[in-house]
């Protein structure tokens, strides 16, 4: 006996459903009712369904089953539990739930072929008809969401201050849109200048890095950009590192906002980029009740600090005088520049003076500026230096530099995400010891980013205690993002280093599962082939 009902549309059904039903994700829910005698129907293999995830991913044409706490995706090489917290929508042609009658009356009604809808019991055929309609509707909606991933079908939303073009899941976009609005308000309030741009800025938000680099044309290490000629901003959502995405968003949007209030003036790179970095370290808490407190500024940029500390360790301190004159401001200079701005903005002595300097450079009429291109002007390094000394009321750059270096020495990474970011950054730089130190701290403090666990596991050895610890870390990563094939792959690889057959077989299964979960990445397919080949060879050797 199989009855299909919808939780999302047939109001009141939720009252009858078990508490474990997803409260967040909208879903087509079906009911499998126990017959009057209380016999359970045998489990059936579900048909192919679809899941739309909050981070923009989709799982298509895979059998899915509703279980306590989420959905189970049934791959050939294993089940993967997707928690409710990750799901935006899902569709399954035959997801089933057990409905156990609570009393004798309900048992009788069920036996008569009635089905509970809200507070009413209706005929099964009616409920089935309704369910079919809703199922089709839900399927279409998910297909539509997927179609919107294509840039030609992107959403275009115009608000009072911005025009957004995006292919993100709508709830995610809603959150980001709010961020932009709060950011604009906070920025304008801080600098007390009226925005004036020739046209409404256009903000392009891409669902992933692939779309971003393809459509915006950005290559190499550019992770977001703003063009002052078109007032266009291009950013992407990195589901693997939402914190990083928010940092980039704050950074790049700062260029736009600075452009909004400063008109045809361009700051020298040593001011423009580090100021954007200063804002880039802002934090966003969409759950804060007080809207004005959702954005907080002036935090520590952990990865930038990691770069600066490494350079200091290597005896390569950047001179302030040199920084003011660097023609090609690169990643290392961003880091040094950020520490300088952080120092000034957090100094009781200099904060107000620096802010005045910042505004006057762009707005004070008596300051001599040189043309940069078209109508746009800037100041020479000499003017910038002279005015910096005058505004900050310091005698020489050397004196200021001393204070700045001392401030850097006092800077510490301030939170768990910072430790993770610094650890991953040190790992990228090849500083294993430092990387281990920071990643361990992050892991011990329960960082939420699964890639931090993977990065730490990667740094551990492949024998003894280390290997066991690495497996534990990868398990944690899997629990945080069960749909990331890489975690299963790495765990599989680790298990294959053991000498017992059981673990080896489990390792192979996990690598196969990774290949099944992400067939686009051929690393896994090749790995399966290699491992199978190697195992066969070993078998032959052992007779």
């Amino acid at each position: 006996m199989k009855n299909l009902l919808s939780a999302s549309t047939l109001l009141g059904l939720a009252l009858l459903l078990p508490a474990s039903l997803p409260a967040g994700p909208r879903a087509v829910v079906s009911l499998r009712l126990q017959d009057g005698a209380g016999k359970k129907t045998p489990p059936q293999r579900p048909g192919p369904g679809m899941i739309s995830l909050k981070d923009g991913r989709f799982i298509l044409e895979k059998p899915i089953r509703k279980v306590k706490g989420g959905l189970e995706v049934l791959y050939r090489n294993g089940k993967v539990l997707v928690p409710d917290s990750m799901i935006l929508d899902y569709y399954s042609p035959d997801t089933t739930l057990q409905y156990t009658p609570k009393n004798e009356i309900e048992r009788k009604r069920l036996a008569k072929g009635l089905v509970p809808i809200g507070r009413r019991w209706v005929r099964k055929s009616l409920a089935e008809r309704e369910m079919r309609k809703l199922t089709e509707k839900r399927k279409k909606e998910i297909e539509e969401q997927k179609a919107h991933r294509l840039w030609r079908n992107r959403y275009i939303v115009e608000t009072k201050d911005f025009i957004f073009e995006h292919n993100l899941p709508l709830p995610l976009f809603k959150e980001l849109r709010e961020l932009f609005e709060v950011y604009l308000k906070t920025f304008l309030k801080k600098w007390r200048k009226k925005p004036h741009l020739p046209r409404k800025p256009r903000i392009n938000l891409y669902a992933d890095h692939g779309d971003y680099s393809q459509i915006s044309g950005a290559k190499g290490g550019i992770v977001g950009w703003y063009h002052p000629m078109t007032q266009e901003l291009h950013l992407y959502w990195d589901r693997r590192d939402p914190k990083f995405t928010i940092n980039v968003l704050f950074h790049e949007t700062n260029h736009l906002l600075s452009d909004m209030i400063n008109g045809d003036f361009r700051y020298p790179d040593w001011i423009e980029e580090p100021m954007a970095e200063y804002y880039g370290a802002s934090k966003w808490n969409p759950r804060a009740k007080d809207k004005t407190k959702r954005m907080t500024m002036g935090h520590v940029q952990a990865s930038r600090l990691a770069v600066v500390k490494t350079q200091i360790k290597e005896g390569e301190k950047l001179k302030l005088k040199d920084m003011l004159r660097i023609p090609d401001f690169g990643a290392v200079h961003y880091a040094w520049g950020w520490t300088f701005i952080h120092f000034l903005m957090n100094s009781k002595k200099y904060a107000k003076r620096w802010e005045k300097y910042y505004l006057d450079l762009a707005h004070k009429k008596t300051i001599r500026r040189k043309p940069l291109y078209g109508k746009v002007k800037t100041v020479t390094p000499e003017t910038a230096e002279k005015l910096l000394l005058k505004y900050l009321r310091v005698k020489s750059l050397d004196a200021l530099e001393k204070e700045w270096y001392a401030y850097i020495d006092s800077l510490e990474i301030e939170d768990v995400d910072g430790y993770a970011a610094a650890g991953r950054h040190f790992r990228m730089l090849g500083e294993w010891k430092e990387a281990k130190k920071y990643l361990k701290k992050a892991v011990d403090l329960g960082v939420k980013n699964p890639y931090a666990y993977m990065a730490y596991a990667d740094l551990l050895g492949t024998s003894g205690k280390d290997r066991k610890e690495a497996i534990r870390l990868l398990d944690k990563a899997i629990s945080l993002d069960p749909l990331e094939a890489e975690f299963r792959y790495r765990k599989g690889r680790l298990l294959l280093t053991f000498h017992d057959d059981k673990r080896k077989q489990e390792g192979l299964r996990l690598v196969r599962l990774a290949a099944e979960m992400n067939p686009e990445d051929w690393t896994y397919i090749h790995a399966v082939a290699d491992i199978e080949e190697e195992m066969k060879r070993e078998d032959r050797k052992n007779g």
Binding site: R152, Q214, G217, T230, E533
Partner: protein, 554 residues
């Protein structure tokens, strides 16, 4: 008599009355396809290393953008993606251990489809598929795509280019007919291109379709010993290089399209589009040989190896040269390392292409003579020395070092404004640190120019470059030995702890590479100490005065 003349006259009349030439049919029996080339499109050569694009056609002339300042020659490409199972492909990856040696077959994942290919190769702007529909070409299913290209990164709102593509499913492979034009002219070509796509047909292939996997090379990793090529004598390596060059020359000759010819001059094979006059080709050949001679006379000391020559390809236009150079990723990289591509520039003369050819020859020479040294040059030599060679100009049968007018203008301007750094700063600067600007590059060029010309007459400056290169070479060789030792130690450690060697070895390598920069900078410092160690402040001051004076006097 009269009757016999009439038909001829009539024929002539018709021929003039109908100026449109007949549409040419392009047949490629190797890849088994044929289609009608739209009028005014001509076939151009495809790079010898190319593995995906099998044919390219260019319109007779470049077109200028009507709104944005942009120029492009409309282009047609045929691209093939053979179908295969990735699992089969991975089985063909070979990793064999022979004692201390591991031979790894170098195979790259092929492109799976047109989208992946475009994502990794298209670099003329951002793009998205604006229209997509299923269609049929003959009896084969196909997908038509209209792709719009933007220049957002350059601050333009407009669509710059339009790509129309037909992905035709030919059972064992997907053939893509791709047409690209400036958006302003897309409508003009629409009918012709549509007709061309409709005429696309399969014909029997004369060769089996190769999957890109079949062309892989291999690499040999040897622990504890010097690499295979390092154990050979310079003479043996020379023979190998000559063989390789001959193979490339042979391929270049046999794959030349219609309208091209070739000739040999010294160690070079010159390929030329027949539309380029013979006089120009001869001039190119003569200059190439003079530069080659100059390199031998002036730089033979940098290594015990032998430089063997190159292939020089002279295209008819910049568009043709660019189309030839533009090679898809995941293609081979062998012929390109031996081929120099230039073109006859009818607008701005030979200067730019002369520079390009000289630099190409210098790179070829240095790589053959001493690859290790070539890759380790400090910024002031890497920029300045190679620029100097690039600027050698032919006058009669001589080569004259003459900086480019544009460089000279910057040079004079900066000298006037006294904007150059002290020579000591330039010579001691390291990559990524305080050596970045155009000023620094021009100054490096000027210093090298001075050292290779007027400075040669000065006892103190005569041997600076040879001494520096000699010291650098010695140090780099030492460093290479250390690297091998480190690898061997890593391997031994891995064996001791019975770890899987791959991972730890990789970690060692990574760690070593991160220290590489540090070591390289240390080497530069040692070279400076050895070459300029005895120089006093006064010597540096004099040097600054001398090189500047050389340019002030012209």
């Amino acid at each position: 008599m009269r009757s016999s003349l009439v038909p001829a006259a009539l024929f002539a009349l018709f021929a003039h009355a109908a100026p449109c030439p007949a549409q040419k049919v392009y047949k490629d029996p190797k890849y088994g396809f044929t289609f009608k080339i739209p009028r005014d499109f001509n076939r151009v050569p495809v790079n010898m290393d190319e593995k995906w694009v099998v044919a390219k056609f260019l319109y007779k002339r470049p077109l200028e953008g009507k709104i944005d300042f942009i120029q492009m020659t409309p282009e047609i490409r045929v691209i093939i993606f053979p179908k295969f199972d990735p699992k089969d492909f991975s089985k063909r990856r070979i990793k064999t251990k022979k004692g201390r040696r591991t031979v790894i077959q170098l195979l790259e994942n092929p492109y799976r489809n047109y989208k992946e290919f475009l994502r990794e190769n298209y670099n003329k702007g951002g793009w998205h598929v604006a229209e997509e529909k299923e269609t049929k070409i003959g009896k084969f299913p196909a997908v038509y795509k209209k792709i719009l290209v933007n220049q957002k990164l350059r601050g333009s709102d407009n669509i710059s280019n339009v790509i129309e593509a037909w992905e035709i499913d030919f059972q064992d492979a997907t053939y893509v007919l791709q047409f690209e034009v400036l958006a302003d002219y897309a409508h003009k070509f629409r009918t012709a291109i549509k007709k061309a796509s409709k005429s696309f047909k399969m014909i029997p292939r004369t060769e089996a379709l190769k999957t890109p996997t079949s062309t892989a090379g291999s690499v040999e990793v040897t622990y504890g010993k010097k690499g295979k090529s390092a154990t050979k004598t310079p003479e043996e390596r020379r023979r190998e290089r000559i063989e390789e060059l001959e193979r490339i020359k042979e391929k270049a000759r046999t794959t030349l399209p219609e309208g091209w010819s070739f000739f040999k001059k010294g160690p070079f094979l010159i390929l030329q589009n027949k539309k380029v006059d013979k006089r120009f080709a001869n001039r190119v050949a003569k200059q190439a040989n003079l530069v080659w001679k100059w390199l031998h006379e002036n730089l033979d000391y940098i290594g015990e190896d032998f430089a063997v020559g190159a292939v020089i390809r002279i295209c008819n236009s910049a568009a043709e040269a660019n189309a030839y150079i533009d090679t898809s990723g995941k293609s081979a990289y062998s012929a390109r390392s031996r081929e120099i591509v230039i073109y006859k520039d009818r607008d701005f003369g030979f200067a730019e292409n002369s520079w390009r050819m000289n630099v190409g020859l210098a790179q070829r020479f240095l790589a053959d003579k001493n690859m290790r040294l070539w890759y380790s040059l400090p910024p002031w030599l890497d920029d300045g020395f190679v620029y100097f060679i690039g600027n050698l100009k032919m006058k009669g049968s001589r080569l004259l070092p003459k900086p480019d007018e544009w460089d000279m203008e910057i040079l004079r301007d900066r000298l006037r404004k006294n904007e150059f750094k002290k020579a000591r700063e330039i010579v001691t600067s390291k990559y990524g640190k305080s050596y970045n600007s155009l000023n620094d590059r021009v100054q490096s060029l000027a210093i090298n120019h001075f050292l290779m010309t007027k400075g040669k007459k000065h006892k103190k400056y005569r041997n600076i470059i040879p001494d520096y290169l000699g010291t650098l070479d010695r140090r780099i060789r030492q460093l290479e030995k250390e690297w091998r030792r480190a690898l061997e130690e890593a391997r031994r450690e891995a064996e001791k702890s019975k770890k899987k060697d791959g991972d730890d070895e990789d970690e060692e390598k990574r760690a070593w590479y991160t220290k590489w920069k540090e070591k390289r900078n240390k080497i530069y410092e040692e070279c400076l100490k050895e070459v300029f160690g005895s120089w006093t402040e006064k010597d540096w001051e004099n040097f600054d005065k001398d090189w500047k004076r050389a340019f002030k006097k012209g």
